[in-house]
């Protein structure tokens, strides 16, 4: 499928002040492409959640946006530390977020389940000591 748009955003570990900048840019770009408002909101929520996760939990990584005529795809890839128990991490309410994240209003253990709920397709792969990759697809047509 022809890719209409691809952009890679580096996300720094612990950069709480700027967390969300990539998602804001992604939302504005997709809006310019004229993407359906409902899909746009779902992509935006998932993008912000995954970007926050990179800031809060990872040792740094990238968020990649790909758009083709059928699908918006978001890929989050980090360099560690990896998730020991993915099933546990996917459980609503389970969180390992630190105090700083909680002070900002996050870390309620809703992030991963919320991404899965908003995406059409959701895949997470993780290896301790290597890193985590999350791939989310959002279908543009019913």
């Amino acid at each position: 499928m022809a890719i209409l748009l691809e952009q890679v955003f580096p996300v720094e570990a612990g950069a709480y002040a700027t967390a969300g900048e990539a998602s804001t840019t992604i939302k504005r770009k997709l809006k310019q492409l004229g993407i359906d408002a409902n899909v746009l909101r779902r992509v935006s929520v998932a993008s912000y959640e995954v970007e926050l996760n990179l800031v809060i939990h990872s040792m740094g990584g990238t968020l990649t946006l790909q758009v083709d005529p059928e699908m918006v795809t978001l890929i989050s890839k980090d360099v560690g530390p990896g998730i020991p128990d993915i099933d546990k991490a996917m459980t609503e309410g389970f969180s390992t977020a630190n105090e700083e994240a909680r002070t900002l209003g996050f870390g309620a253990g809703m992030g991963l389940p919320n991404m899965k709920r908003n995406a059409t397709t959701f895949d997470i792969q993780s290896q301790v000591g290597v890193g985590t990759t999350i791939m989310m697809g959002f279908a543009l047509r019913g």
């Binding site: 912000y48 900002l104 809703m110 908003n118």
Partner: protein
């Protein structure tokens, strides 16, 4: 209901977005937990919160929230107001607590958000 109605009901003042006062709002939610807001909110919603930081605005922008009401007389920073302006979000401030502001809006007919965004 419009953002102007919300402002009058919570006896608030507008800090940015005067041009949006006649925009409609369908629902409201009150929360200091942005994780919850991200999980439950739909659009044309007013967010009433006592939490003041830039992530409140970012969360609102991601969800197409049109109006943020900061409760208990808290004053957001210039940075927060500039971000809100750029994101096309009206910001109000009320001296009411979050609980009272939500109660007044609910009593005047503004319902809560549905549980799912999609």
């Amino acid at each position: 209901m419009t953002i102007r109605d919300v402002m009058e009901i919570v006896e608030g003042v507008v800090l940015t977005g005067e041009d949006k006062l006649d925009s409609p709002v369908d629902t409201a939610c009150g929360s200091d937990l942005m994780s919850d807001v991200l999980a439950f909110v739909k659009d044309k919603t007013v967010l009433i919160t006592g939490l003041i930081n830039t992530h409140v605005v970012r969360t609102a922008e991601m969800l197409d929230i049109t109006c943020i009401v900061f409760s208990r007389g808290k004053q957001p920073s210039e940075e927060i107001l500039e971000m809100a302006q750029e994101a096309d979000i009206a910001v109000l401030s009320t001296r009411m607590t979050t609980y009272t502001a939500c109660g007044e809006l609910y009593t005047h007919g503004l319902p809560g958000t549905r549980e799912k965004t999609n």
